[in-house]
Each structure stands twice: as structure tokens, then as C-alpha cells.
């Protein structure tokens, strides 16, 4: 079985896995990094949203071979030690979560958005496709705006 090396949340990892194995299952089943969640497996619900070289990806539709020597960041790698990322902190401050299952993906999508667009408009936020079945969208919007003003006032 081929071996794949990449940087996961700041640390180099090497896994033996089929080349076409989706990153999601490499993370969850082989590396036991369970923050990214399965919600559809086809890149639609986006519960697994993580970052590849700082850009948003859906690991359920990214093959592990495409991550070779690249930087994979999951929700577990977003905080700086015990200091939460401003998006995570805004999520706490706005008490965004309900069941919480989609929130790692929502937070990673929001962090990627703010990196691209430090002061997003409502239309920018509307383009986030991540499903929240509990319907916390209003608090997600509030938290993104709050984080935006924290990161670049």
C-alpha cells in the first residue's frame, strides 16, 4: 500500500493508505482525528470542512495522494495551544452551537472566508454552503462578523 506524508496540524505524519482513499477517512479511521465529521461523503453538507495549505477543502472528496507534502489543518489544529482562534472564540461568545456536529466545519469555513475576505458582506456570508440542520445560521453570521472585527478591526 502506498505511503503518504503530509503535515497534519503542524506535525508531520505518514500513513499507509490506498491512493484514492478520501482524506476524511484517513483522518478519522487511520489517524483518529475525529473533528472533521462525515455528513454526506460527496462534498455537499461540508461538515468535514478543513484546510489544505490554508484553503478550505472538503476532505470527503479530497484524495490522500493529493495531500502529499502539504499542510492539512483540521479543527483540532486551529487554536494556538489553549488560545482559541478568534473564530472559535466568537463561536463561544455568540453561543453558536446547538448539536455541534456541523460546527467544526462551519468554523473552518468561516476561518477560511475571513482569510480571503477580512470584512465579509452579508452576500459573502450567504455564499457559505455548510448545512446546519439545527438552524443556527443567525448566530453563525453574528459570530463571523464578530470575529472579523477581532482579527482586523
Amino acid at each position: 500500500m502506498p505511503s503518504h506524508s503530509f503535515i497534519l496540524n503542524g506535525k508531520p505524519v505518514t500513513v499507509e493508505a490506498p491512493a484514492d482513499m478520501p482524506l476524511l477517512w484517513v483522518l478519522r479511521d487511520l489517524l483518529h482525528v475525529t473533528g472533521p465529521k462525515y455528513g454526506c461523503g460527496v462534498g455537499v453538507c461540508r461538515a468535514c470542512t478543513s484546510h489544505l495549505d490554508g484553503e478550505e477543502i472538503q476532505p470527503c472528496v479530497v484524495k490522500v495522494e493529493d495531500c502529499q507534502d502539504r499542510k492539512v489543518t483540521t479543527i483540532e489544529g486551529l487554536a494556538d495551544g489553549d488560545t482559541l482562534h478568534p473564530v472559535q472564540q466568537a463561536w463561544m461568545d455568540c453561543d453558536v452551537s446547538q448539536c455541534g456536529f456541523c460546527q467544526p466545519g462551519q468554523i473552518m469555513a468561516a476561518a477560511a472566508l475571513l482569510k480571503r475576505t477580512p470584512h465579509p458582506t452579508d452576500a459573502d456570508i450567504d455564499r457559505i454552503e455548510n448545512v446546519c440542520r439545527c438552524g443556527t445560521y443567525a448566530r453563525i453570521r453574528e459570530a463571523i462578523n464578530r470575529a472579523a472585527s477581532e482579527i482586523t478591526p
Partner: protein, 724 residues
């Protein structure tokens, strides 16, 4: 259990200070017991009346080292203060996002004067008796009395223990931040007092819960206790559980609902790397493999010949016409009255919790252990035990937090399948339904047809009739993966909808139905989500035909002052009647249930009727007493999105015995771009004990969205979802 009485003075086991619940609830009293233990451990009966509670006859006291407990204690809510200064209450409910663990932690922190961070609310394993049911929006109201009584008793013990240690009068002591504070500012943590408090027989201070006026935690908007675990990815769901040797497992399912296997050729699948077992179960063919990637690959390599399911010839159009034909006739309207009549159709709707059904099962020869999220753990345990031929006493079910439920986890389909697979494969398995499985084979809110007629005369409604028919699940279709419908009425019977909300003269309801071999389940707010929605549309149409404003008409015809008050609240806060551009409009609706009531005002931009956007939602709720207003606001926010989704865009099609939709790509649950840009929730001042809240908002939000759409487009909404 040591059944001695625990209260201050010489009174018998104590009645909770605020045991005069809201009129809608039965009168309950809460007795508290002390459990012989080396740490302070207090128990209160749960969800039963005093007579039942007294059945908790003291049994032989366990050894002092035992914290817990068997037999009747299983039916109780138990609080333990640990030496590490944690307050632990194992909750016989499930957390699926509704915030019950936070609400209970707040009740405990309030009465103990503990820091919220020192209160742990793990979920209890399946018990042998008592009330472990999560549903019907009853968790807060059923726990409010016992949780506070428990904590207040524990506090009295801790204070008494500190008084003895310091040889000072107990009345001179205060409690704060999980500590007792004495003269001169000396302090003792609860943890340092728990061993001596466990030996206290009689307390020197009152063990009554505080009067509501003294509440500092209850009623204060509070962030979820698991918020940090969620935002860091540490919160664990069934799929995240690790058990030695457990293997990922998926099931190949038929193309039609409940299709049957004719033959299986699993040679290619078994030859693939990482495949550990292939197992036939009633729902399909399971593959157990080293990863979900391997499992899905092998599933897709199975060559299965399927026989069509029992509904193979059936599609939506036929279901709709059969439902229509099953609606009982309305009867004769009052003489001389004018009729406003409407027929309403609701499609099937998936629960589609974000976390698909997942269950870890480890079935051995003489025992079994399970990990999954369930609203009905005791029934689930009995069902999995029976499925694998073990006595229930040999089966342990660990209840995990769920990634959403909306009623879906009343049923435990995946756990039964996991049990069968683990038994056949001879190893622990982690069964996960794919999203396709969830939407195409999972449970649904039943489709329904409603015929509603309001009769008015001389400007007043003199009769209001609602006849409906919905699909129920036929018993021959249920098989091994079905159970009784908890909290949901899926068969014919009296309707719960309260048309008596309004002074509409003669109120009548009638109910018919059709049976199909199709997996159904109670969906958040159950029948109210369709019945009240349709009724609120008719209320608007009656108002219009009488030339009255929709809010004014409701205000003059509503019976209950509390409902009028929430309506007035949203009308004022949402600026009812403000001028809006063409294609935009407001709509309102109200609902009363679970001892609570709610109003919703929605504003919609339906300039493009095929692609409407609800731009603003204002809700107001009177739940008697909101334990956590922030949590209540979250529940209302969620129900607004339920209303937007089910009324405007999200439903399931039945095509020749199969569900057409297969993921969130075509089951159009609202995304951020469909959610209101502005959302406000107003919580009415506390005026009693808590009513239910989790499901409350669905009918009002749905009705308000439908009424706003009607006004914006000049149409009469009749078939839901409207854009389907």
C-alpha cells in the same frame, strides 16, 4: 439506599418549595433521599408522582464505599459531590443540541451555589426503570423540580457539615463558587466537605430550593457548557468512539424502500483489501472493513439482486390522491354562514440530523455493549437484546450525545442492525448509515392532507372544522427495525391540534389515514407542524375575507391572554404593518402547546416566487420560566429555519417506491442564504414553572412564513414545500 429523611427540622421528606406547577402540569412532589456512600450522594425520584416515588422503599443499605446503587435508585436523579469538588449528575436524558445538559447544570449550580464549570452532566446509561425518555419537549419541565430539590438538599448537608467542622452556627454560613464561606472569610470547598456531609442525618439549615426571586443562574442567558468542546472538535459522537477491535461498517440497501434480497454474490467484495466480514441482515448486506473507505468500496462491489419493495408501484401523485380520499368529510356548516375553505398538502420530510445514524455494538456470547445516541435508551436496550437473543440484563447501552435528532433518535434502527451484524461477524462494529441511507431509507414526517373550513356569519367565525388524513406505517412493513412511535401519533385517533386557540364557535376535528409500508417517525412538533400551519393560513384568509388585519383579527379572537401577549410582542417588535416594497410582505402566526405559547412574525422577499428569501424573523415565547434564555432563543432560531425549510423548499418525493432525494444536494434544507438576515427572539417575563420549548416554535414559524409568502405573492399556499 438509606431512606432516612433529609430535610431540616423534623419534617417528612420534603415537598419542593415550588411544587405548585403550572396548571397544565400534574401536581408533583419531590422527595429526596440520601444514598449511603463515602461522598455526598443524594437522589430524587424523577418524573413520577409522590405515590410512585414512595414505592422507592429503602432496601438494604449498600456498603459505604458504594456510590450507587441498584433497583429503585435507578429510577432516580442522583447527585454526587466528589472529593475533587465536582458536582456530578448522571442525566437520564439525551443531549441532541437542545441544551438540556446546560439547563440542568444551571438548575444544579443555582441551588448549590456551585460554579457552572464545576457541574458535570454526563448522560446516564440505559436504566432498568423510571423515566429516561427524551421527547415531547418535556425534559426541562420534568427535571425542574427534582434537580433543584436535589441540589438544595445537598447544599444544606454541605453547610451543616461545615458548621460542625468549624463549630459555628450553620445559619452564619454562606455558599458561593462551590464553597462554603464562614466567619472571618474562611472557606471550605464542597469537595473537602463531601465525606462529612455524607454522614449528616439532619441538616441545620433549610433544604428548600430558593424562591425564584433569588435566582441568579436560572433565567440568566448562559453559554452551553459543552461550547468549548464543540468548537475545538473534542465533542464525541458515536462515530468518534473508539472501542478495541471495532471495525467500520456500512450496509448495501435496496433501490426501493424495503426491497428484499433475492441473491448476493459477495466474491468480488470479499476479495477486496481490508474487508473483514460480509453479513446479511433484514435491511440489506453489511460490510465490515478496516476503514469506511474500504467498507464503501466493498459495499459497491457487492452484486445483489433485489426484489422490489412493497411500495414499488407507488409515487407521490397516488399517495396524495389516496390521502385526499381518506380525509373524513366536513359535515354541514351552520345555516346561513359563509365558508372559507382550504385543502392543504404536506410532503414527506426527512429528519436528516447532521450526524447520520451511527451505532457501535459489541455483541458477545453472553453479553453485549452498545454506544449510540438515543431518545429511548431503555426501549432500545430491550430491542437490541431481543434482536440478538440476550436477556436485557446482559446488555449495556451507553447513551451518547447526538448530532441533532428532531425526533429521529426516538427510533433505534441502526442499533438493532449493528447488534445483528456484530453478532454475525463475531466482533465489535461501528455501523454508520450513509446520507443516502438516511434520506432514502430513514424515517420521515408523514405526508398529510388537510381540509379546513371556517364558517362565518355577521362578521364572526361560528364554526371551525379541520379534517385530515396522514400516512401511517403499516405493521407488516415494520419488521425488525421498527418500534412503537414514541411521542408521535402515527395512527388514526383524536388530533392534538388546538383550534380552540380561537373563539371560533363550534370546533371540530376529524382524522383519517392510509397505511403504507414506509419508515415514518415523529418529527419535531409532530402533528402540530402541519395542522397548526394549515390552520394559521386559514385564519389569515378568514381575516382577509372579513376585511380585517391579520393581527387585529387574531387579537380579538384569541382566547388566551398569554397568546395575545406574544402576538402583541412580535407585532410591536417586528413593526407589523410597516410598508415594504412590492413582492415583500410580512406574515404572522401563533401556537400554544407544552404549557407554553409562541408567536412569529416573518418578512419575506418573494420578488422571485420561485426563490423567496425570508429576510427577517421575530419570535416571542412565553414558556412560563426560561431556565436558559440563550438556549431558548437558540431553539426558536432553529424552529424558524424548520419553518423556512419545510414550507418553502425541503421535502421528499416518492418515485415508484423509492425516495428521489439522496443528500442535502436535493433535500433542500435551508442554507445560510435562505436564513433570515435578522432574527430576534423575545422571551416573556417569567410567570411560573417552565413549560416545554424545544418543538414549540415550529408551527408558528411555518405559519408565519406561509402567510408572508401568501401576502407577498397574492397566492394561496396549499401544497408544501411550495417550491418542490
Amino acid at each position: 439506599m438509606d431512606g432516612f429523611e433529609t430535610t431540616a427540622g423534623s419534617r417528612p421528606p420534603e415537598e419542593s418549595a415550588e411544587a405548585a406547577p403550572r396548571a397544565a402540569l400534574s401536581r408533583r412532589r419531590f422527595m429526596v433521599y440520601s444514598l449511603a456512600a463515602s461522598t455526598l450522594t443524594i437522589a430524587a425520584p424523577l418524573g413520577c408522582d409522590t405515590s410512585t416515588a414512595q414505592g422507592a422503599t429503602p432496601s438494604a443499605a449498600p456498603a459505604a464505599s458504594d456510590v450507587l446503587v441498584t433497583g429503585t435508585d435507578e429510577e432516580m436523579l442522583v447527585l454526587e459531590v466528589t472529593a475533587a469538588n465536582k458536582v456530578v449528575v448522571r442525566l437520564p436524558r439525551v443531549e441532541v443540541g437542545q441544551g438540556i445538559t446546560t439547563a440542568v447544570a444551571m438548575m444544579i449550580a443555582e441551588e448549590l451555589d456551585a460554579r457552572l464549570a464545576d457541574v458535570d452532566i454526563p448522560l446516564a446509561d440505559a436504566r432498568t426503570g423510571g423515566n429516561q425518555y427524551t421527547g415531547g419537549s418535556n425534559s426541562v419541565s420534568s427535571l425542574y423540580g427534582p434537580a433543584r430539590a436535589l441540589a438544595a438538599t445537598a447544599r444544606a448537608r454541605l453547610v451543616t457539615a461545615a458548621a460542625r467542622r468549624w463549630r459555628v452556627p450553620a445559619w452564619s454560613l454562606r455558599t458561593r463558587d462551590t464553597m462554603v464561606i464562614g466567619p472571618g472569610g474562611r472557606t471550605a470547598t464542597f469537595g473537602s466537605l463531601t465525606a462529612s456531609a455524607a454522614k449528616i442525618r439532619r441538616t441545620s439549615v433549610s433544604s428548600k430550593p430558593k424562591p425564584a426571586a433569588k435566582h441568579q443562574v436560572i433565567g440568566r442567558p448562559t453559554t452551553r457548557i459543552d461550547a468549548r468542546a464543540i468548537v475545538t472538535g473534542e465533542a464525541k459522537y458515536a462515530g468518534d468512539v473508539t472501542v478495541a477491535g471495532v471495525k467500520p461498517t456500512v450496509v448495501a440497501r435496496p433501490p426501493t424502500i424495503r426491497g428484499k434480497i433475492v441473491s448476493v454474490d459477495d466474491r468480488a467484495a470479499r476479495a477486496l483489501p481490508g474487508v473483514r466480514a460480509v453479513v446479511r441482515i433484514p435491511g440489506g448486506v453489511a460490510v465490515v472493513a478496516d476503514s469506511f473507505h474500504h467498507a464503501f468500496k466493498a459495499r459497491d462491489a457487492l452484486r445483489i439482486k433485489w426484489a422490489p419493495g412493497p411500495l414499488a408501484g407507488l409515487s407521490d401523485a397516488a399517495v396524495r390522491s389516496r390521502l385526499k380520499a381518506a380525509v373524513p368529510r366536513l359535515g354541514t356548516p351552520p345555516t346561513g354562514s359563509t365558508q372559507i375553505q382550504g385543502e392543504f398538502e404536506f410532503a414527506f420530510v426527512s429528519h436528516a440530523p447532521m450526524e447520520v445514524l451511527t451505532a457501535v455494538a459489541d455483541v458477545r456470547a453472553h453479553k453485549a455493549e452498545f454506544w449510540f445516541s438515543t431518545q429511548t435508551p431503555m426501549e432500545a436496550r430491550d430491542a437490541v437484546a431481543s434482536a440478538v437473543g440476550l436477556p436485557a440484563s446482559a446488555v449495556r447501552v451507553h447513551v451518547l450525545r447526538g448530532g441533532g435528532s428532531f425526533g429521529r433518535r426516538l427510533n433505534y434502527d441502526a442499533a438493532i442492525e449493528a447488534a445483528l451484524i456484530s453478532k454475525a461477524a463475531g466482533r465489535p462494529v461501528k455501523l454508520m448509515w450513509s446520507r443516502n441511507d438516511d434520506i432514502r431509507h430513514g424515517r420521515m414526517r408523514p405526508a398529510s392532507h388537510h381540509r379546513i373550513r371556517a364558517s362565518h356569519k355577521d362578521g364572526r367565525v361560528v364554526a371551525f372544522t379541520h379534517s385530515m388524513a396522514s400516512v401511517s406505517e403499516s405493521s407488516e412493513g415494520k419488521g425488525v427495525v421498527n418500534q412503537a412511535a414514541f411521542g408521535g401519533r402515527l395512527s388514526a385517533g383524536p388530533a392534538p391540534s388546538d383550534s380552540g386557540l380561537y373563539n371560533f364557535g363550534r370546533i371540530s376535528e376529524d382524522w383519517g389515514g392510509i397505511e403504507l409500508a414506509i419508515p415514518l417517525g415523529a418529527w419535531r412538533s409532530v402533528d402540530s407542524g402541519t395542522m397548526r400551519t394549515a390552520e394559521e393560513i386559514v385564519v389569515d384568509e378568514v381575516a382577509a375575507s372579513l376585511g380585517q388585519d391579520a393581527v387585529d383579527f387574531r387579537r380579538t379572537t384569541l382566547r388566551n391572554k398569554a397568546v395575545k401577549a406574544v402576538l402583541d410582542k412580535v407585532a410591536a417588535a417586528g413593526q407589523w404593518g410597516r410598508s415594504l416594497p412590492d413582492g415583500h410582505a410580512q406574515g404572522v402566526a401563533v401556537h400554544e402547546e407544552y404549557g407554553s405559547c409562541v408567536a412569529c412574525l416573518a418578512e419575506i422577499d418573494a420578488t422571485d416566487p420561485k426563490n423567496p428569501r425570508v429576510t427577517k424573523v421575530v419570535m416571542a415565547a412565553d414558556v412560563g420560566r426560561a431556565v436558559n434564555p440563550r438556549g431558548l432563543e437558540a431553539q426558536l432560531m432553529g424552529t424558524a429555519v424548520d419553518g423556512i425549510s419545510t414550507v418553502l423548499q425541503a421535502g421528499l418525493h416518492l418515485d415508484r417506491g423509492a425516495i428521489r432525494e439522496g443528500s442535502f444536494a436535493d433535500f433542500h434544507w435551508a442554507r445560510q442564504r435562505h436564513a433570515p438576515l435578522r432574527f430576534e427572539a423575545h422571551i416573556m417575563p417569567a410567570n411560573g414553572e417552565p413549560g416545554g420549548a424545544g418543538e414549540l416554535g415550529v408551527p408558528a414559524a411555518s405559519g408565519a412564513v406561509a402567510n408572508a409568502y401568501a401576502r407577498a405573492t397574492g397566492t394561496k399556499p396549499r401544497r408544501f414545500p411550495l417550491n418542490f
